[in-house]
Symmetry: C4
C-alpha cells in the first residue's frame, strides 16, 4: 500500500515492533511441547539466537557461554579483541568514561591497528573452547580475513556492514565474492545488513547462505538520525522473508533471514519471528549479562568512526547471568529476563509448535499501549530504587 | 480492513479505549430513565460489573460489598485466600515491599500450596454472607475445583487463564469439559480469556455460558511487553460481540461477552459497552477501594509465575469506599469515582435506554486529546498536593 | 471514510486542532484589507468572538469590556452571579483553594440556590452598561428564565447543556420550545451543545437561530475522560457546517455555527473558521484576562455537579488586559496574545477577505510538529523564569 | 490521497521529516565517489547549502566562512546588520536577556530604523572578502534595496517573507516585479516562502529564478501555533518539486527548489533532498557555530514583530567551528556535526551519485522510532553533563 506523500511522490507505510502485536491462536499449546530449535544453513541451534558482533557483547568467554545455552556468539574481527592482546584495560576505560567523553574515548580505542595474529588467535581460542566459531569481518577486510582464518577453522563467516548490497560500486576496491569466501573457509557465509526485498534477493543470488536484516533499529544505533536511513524491523523482516520464500521457490535453496537489532524484550523477539525471521541477532539485552565484556555498557561498532560516529554508548546495567537473560528464571517483570522462555510461552499462546509455524502467527497493527510501559514506571516509581 | 505491513504480509488495524470516543445521540434521555441492569446467562445484576479474580481486589469481604452494590466479585481459587488460613500478613508484606523486591515477595507468597479445605471454606463464607458466589480456577485446576465445590453451592464458575481456547493441546493434561463442569456445580460456566472471533465462537460451541475478553490490556499486566501478545480492547470487544451475535443467530443461545481489563475511568466502561460488551470486569479501579484487600496496591495473578512473571505490582492508592467508586458521589473530577453514574450519564447522552441499546452507540476514531489529560495535570500541578 | 474497528463494526476517523494545519493561499492579502466582522442571526459583531458562559470568564464587567472590543460575553444565569448578591468572596475562595480541595469548594459554592431577582438584576446591569446582552440558562431553567427576563431586555438567549438535542426524552420534565422562547424574549435563541450533522440539523428545524458546537474539547473539561463522549472540533465544525449549508439550501435561513471550546491560541481559531465555523466561543484564554472574574483560574460549569463533576479547575494565570489578549500587541510569542490579530494575519496568508472566504481555506492533515511546542519550551527553559 | 475530515470536507495527509525514512538502495556506492555539488540558477556551489537570512546565523564574517566551505550565506538586509553600525552590543544584549524578556529585547532592538548606507556597506564588505554575495530584502523593501545595491554587486537576491505569492493583493503597496529586479541587480532572484504546487508554479511563471520552500517548520518559528498555518516539509518539498519539474517540461527552464527550515540533523538534510529539494537552507544548526553572530542563541526574524511576534529565541549552544558542523569530524554522535559528511554517506547508501539521483531515493513512511532519540538521552543521562 503506497501512500501519496506529495504530488507525484508515494511511499509505503512501514511498521516496527511497537506498532504491532500478536493475536493468540484459536489453538493453544502446552509450552513444554514447543520446539525452539532453528536451522541456519548448515548450523543447527537450540535457540534461534545470535549475539551481535559487537565488542560489548561478544568475546571468547561470552561466546562460549552462549554456545552452551544453545545460541551463537559472533566475534567481530575488527573490534578491540583483534586490536589488543589484552583488551580489558580499554573496555574498562570505555566503561569509566563520562557521557561527554565516551565517543572520543571509543574513537581513540579503535585507532589501534588490527593485528593478523590476534585474528588467528581469537579463532583458535574459540575453537579450543569447543564452541561453534562464528566471526565477522567487514566487506573490505573479508578477503584478507578468510586467508588468515584458513579452511575448516570456523563454523560461520558473517560479512557485515551498515548497508551491504550485491552491487556495491567503488573506484577504490572490489566487493567480496561470497561463494569464493565460503569455499576458502569451508563454512557458510552470512551477509548483511539489508532491509529490502530487492537487496536481500540479490545477496542470495550472489551466494549468501544467510541474510542479516536491519538498518538503523538498534538501541545503540543513531543511523536513522544521522543518515536518515532505516526501515522499521517488522516490515524489513516481512520483505526479506518474502525474498527468502521467492528465492526458495526459484532455486530450492532456503537462505535464512536473521533479524538484527532493535529487540529489547521477549515480546519483540516473538514479533520478529512472527514477521518472518528464522532467528534473531540481539545486542543490548545481552550486553547486560554478567559474562558480557561491556561492563554494563553497550556501544555500536560505528561509534568508532572518526569522521561520523553513527552510534552511541548506552548504559545497560548488569541484570544477571546470560543464562537467566536467555532462559530465566525472571525475577523482574519487564520482559528483559527469560527472553526465550517468553518466546516459548508466546508461541504456545499462538498455537505454534516450531519456528516455521510461528512465522504464520497473526499480527495486528496495535500501537504500544500507554499502560504497557506505564505499569512498570508506576511500579518502579513507588519504591524509587530504579 | 487489512493493511500491508510488508511484502505478502497483511495485518488488521486495531483500536483501544484511547483511540476512540463516543458520539452523543440525536436523541438524549433523562439519566434517571436509563436502565443499567444486565443479564449474564442465569445471573441478573443491577450493574454490568464484575470484579476481577485478583487477590488485591476480591476477598469474601469485598465480594459481599460488591454484591450489595449490584455487581459481582469473582474470588480466585488459586490465590492467597485459598493458600493461607489468614492471608492478611502476606497481603501486608506485599504492600510493604519495596518496588525492587515486590515481584520476588509476590513470587514467594504464592509458593505456599493450595489447600482444598480453604477452597471449600471460602465458598461457604461467601454463601453465608448472602452474596452471589462466583469463583475462579485455572483450566488445569477446574475439574478438581468443581469436585471440591460440589453441586448448588455457587452461582457462577469462571475458568480463566491468560489465553484459553477450546482446542488446547498438551501432551501432559486434558482440557476441561465446560458442559460437564456446569452440570457438576449446577451453575453457568464463564470461560476466558480470548480476544478473537474464532476463539470466542469455538468456546461458545464448546459450551461456555459466558466469555471473558481481554489479553494484555490490564494496568498491572505486562503480557504485551513480555510475550508480544495482545489485542486492544475495543477491537477485541467488537470481534467477540460479533461471535456472540452469530452464535445467537446460529443456535438461539446468547452467550454474554464480558470485557476484562484495561478500563480505568467511567469513559472507558462506556466505550466497552458501546463496542459490544454485555458487562465489564475491572480490577485496578476497585483495588483502590477501602474494602479491597490490596491495601492500596494491585498486582496481576501472573506476577507470581516463578520463571516468567507477566504482571507487576502497581500503586493504586485508596480513593474511597467501594460505593463511592461505583456510584459516587465523586469528589474528584478525574473519572475514577462514580464509574456507573458516569456510565448512566454517558448512556443518556447517547440516547441509550439500556445496555443493549448502548451497544449500538456511534463510535468515532478520535485519539485521546492532549487537553484530556493535561487539564488534570495542570489542575493538580497548582496546589502540588498530588 | 469509515474504518473497520472490529468485525461488523465501523467508525469514522475524526480530527482536532492539533491534527491539521492550514495551507497558505495562491493569493495573499494585505492584513489591513481583511474583514473580521460576523453576523450571527440578528447580531452583528466586529470580531467573530463569543466568551463562554462560564463564571471564571463572564460577569457584567468583563462582558462590557468584551462588547467594547467587538465580541460578545455570555453570562451564565445559573452561575455564581445569580446565586450571590456579591460573588466576590466565593470567587476568592475558589482561587485560594488548594488543588486537592478545589472541586469540593466549587461544589459547595454552587449549592446556594439561584435567585430570580439576581437574574433580573444582572440583565439590567448589562443593559445599563450599553453592552449587548447575552445570557444563558440550561434547558430545564430556560422557560422560567425567559419569564423572568421578559420581552426586549436581551439581545440573545443561549440555551446550553453538555449535550442538547431536539428530541430529549424525560419522564420528569419537558424540553424547551425554542421558537416560543425567542418570541417571549424577543431575541434570537442559540442552542447547544451538539457535535453531529443530524443533531445540528434537528436543532435548526426545531427553531434554533444559532448552534453551539463542541462536546468535550475544553481545557477545563473532562467529559471525554469521565463519560467517554466527545468529537474532535475540526470534524465537529465541518459536520455541523454541512448541516447549516444543507438547512440553508432547504429553507433559505442561515443558522450560524459557533465552535465552542478547545481553542487555546490564534492558530486554533483560524482552524476553527477554516473548518466551517461562523464564530468561536472561547473560555480559558479569556479567563487569563485582567478583567476576568476567575482571578487566574478557570473551571467548567459541570465541575459543580455534586455526584459526577465533569470539569476541573485549571490555573491560567493572568496574561494581560482583555484588549491585549484579543487585539495585541503581543509581548509573548506563544500564540496566546493578539488572538484576532493572528486570525487577521492568518486569513491574509490564506487569501481570505472575510469569514465566509476563510471557511473555504485549504486544510491539510498535519499532526502537530514536535518543534512547534518544543521551540517554546526550549526558549522558556533557558532563563527558567517560566 | 484526500481524507474526509468531516461531512463534505476533505484534506490531504502531509508528512514531515520525523514521519519518513530513506531506504538503502539495491546498489551502494563508495562515499568518495559521491558528488555534492549543486547548481542554483547561475550559482554553482560545492555543497547544496544556504545559510538562513537570520541575524543569529549570517553576518559578513560567517558568510565568508560559509563561502570558503562551499555553501552560501544569505545576509538579511533588514536585520541588525543594516540597522546598526556596530550590531555587537545588541547581539550581546539579546544573548544576555532572560527567557522572559527575550521577545521584548528583540522587539526593541529591531525598532532602530534601517539605514541605506549600511545596506550598501554590508554588500561592499561581502564583495571585498571575495565571498559570493547573497542578500535578502522583504517584498516591500525589495525595489528600494535593488536601487541601493545597484547592478553587478551581488550574486543572488533573495526576496523573502513568511508567505509570498505571485498574486499578493494590497490596497497600500505594489508587489515586486521579479524579472525587473533581476535585471536591476544583474543576478538571479530567489523568492519565498511558499509550500504549495500552485503557489510555486505561479512564482516561477512570475520570473523567480529559485524558490524557497517552507512555512512554519523552523526550530525558532511559531507560525503554526500562532497562525495555524504550515505544511510539513517532506510534502512541501515534493509538491514544489513537482511544480519545478512541470515548469521545466513547460518552459525548459529549471527553477531550483531550496527547502528552508526544520532540518536539525544530517538525516533531515538527506530526507529533504530525497523529497525533491535541490538544496537546503538551514538556520539553527549553523547558529551553533563558533563563527555565528548569535552567541549560542537563535531567533526568528518574525520575533521582532511588534504586534504579533511569530518566532522565539532558542538556546542552541556552541558546538564547534562552522567547518566541523558542515564537514566534520564529528566528536558527537547525535547527527548535529558533519552534516554534509552524513549527506555524502547517506547518498552512498542510497546508491545516489549526485543530488539529482538522490532526488529519486526511496522514501518510506516510518514514524520516528522511540529508540532513535532515547539512545542519546540514555547515553547523556549517564554522565549527566548534558
Amino acid at each position: 500500500m503506497e501512500i501519496p506523500i506529495g504530488r507525484a511522490r508515494k511511499a509505503r507505510q512501514t511498521f516496527g515492533f511497537d506498532d504491532v502485536a500478536l493475536v493468540p491462536g484459536a489453538t493453544t499449546l502446552d509450552p513444554k511441547d514447543v520446539d525452539l530449535t532453528c536451522e541456519l544453513a548448515t548450523l543447527r541451534l537450540d535457540l534461534p539466537l545470535l549475539a551481535s558482533a559487537m565488542d560489548a557483547v561478544v568475546d571468547v568467554r561470552s561466546a562460549t557461554v552462549l554456545a552452551e545455552l544453545g545460541g551463537l556468539g559472533v566475534l567481530h574481527l575488527e573490534g578491540l579483541q583483534c586490536r589488543y592482546e589484552d583488551p580489558d584495560p580499554l573496555l574498562e576505560r570505555i566503561a569509566a568514561a563520562s557521557a561527554e567523553e565516551a565517543v572520543t574515548v571509543i574513537q581513540q580505542a579503535y585507532q589501534e591497528p588490527l593485528k593478523n595474529h590476534l585474528v588467528e588467535r581469537r579463532v583458535a581460542e574459540l575453537k579450543e573452547k569447543g564452541a561453534k566459531v562464528a566471526v565477522s569481518p567487514t566487506p573490505i577486510f573479508a578477503q584478507r580475513a578468510a586467508e588468515i582464518i584458513g579452511p575448516g577453522n570456523i563454523d560461520a563467516l558473517f560479512i557485515l556492514a551498515t548497508v551491504t548490497t550485491a552491487r556495491h560500486i567503488s573506484s577504490r576496491y572490489q566487493s567480496p565474492d561470497f561463494k569464493r569466501l565460503a569455499d576458502q573457509v569451508q563454512a557458510p557465509v552470512f551477509v548483511g545488513n539489508c532491509v529490502s526485498y530487492q537487496a536481500a534477493l540479490e545477496l542470495m543470488r550472489a551466494g549468501a547462505d544467510g541474510i542479516l536484516v536491519g538498518v538503523g533499529p538498534g538501541a545503540a544505533c543513531t543511523t536513522r538520525r544521522v543518515l536518515g536511513i532505516g526501515v522499521p524491523q517488522v516490515t524489513a523482516a516481512a520483505d526479506c522473508a518474502a525474498a527468502r520464500d521467492d528465492f526458495e521457490t526459484e532455486t530450492g535453496k532456503r537462505v535464512p533471514i536473521i533479524l538484527d537489532g532493535g529487540m529489547r524484550v521477549g515480546g519483540d523477539i516473538a514479533k520478529a519471528i512472527a514477521a518472518g525471521a528464522d532467528a534473531v541477532m540481539i545486542g543490548s539485552p545481552l550486553a547486560a549479562a554478567e559474562e558480557a565484556p561491556g561492563r554494563g555498557y553497550h556501544w555500536g561498532m560505528a561509534t568508532s568512526h572518526m569522521g561520523l560516529p553513527r552510534g552511541t554508548r548506552i548504559h545497560v546495567g548488569t541484570s544477571g547471568p546470560m543464562k537467566q537473560i536467555l532462559l530465566g528464571p525472571a525475577k523482574r517483570d519487564d520482559g528483559t529476563l527469560n527472553l526465550f522462555g517468553a518466546l516459548r510461552l508466546s508461541m504456545s499462546c499462538c498455537g505454534a509448535k516450531n519456528i516455521r509455524e510461528m512465522q504464520q502467527a497473526e499480527i495486528v497493527v496495535a500501537p504500544a499501549m500507554p499502560t504497557e510501559g506505564k505499569a512498570l514506571q508506576r511500579a518502579q516509581g513507588v519504591g524509587g530504587t530504579r
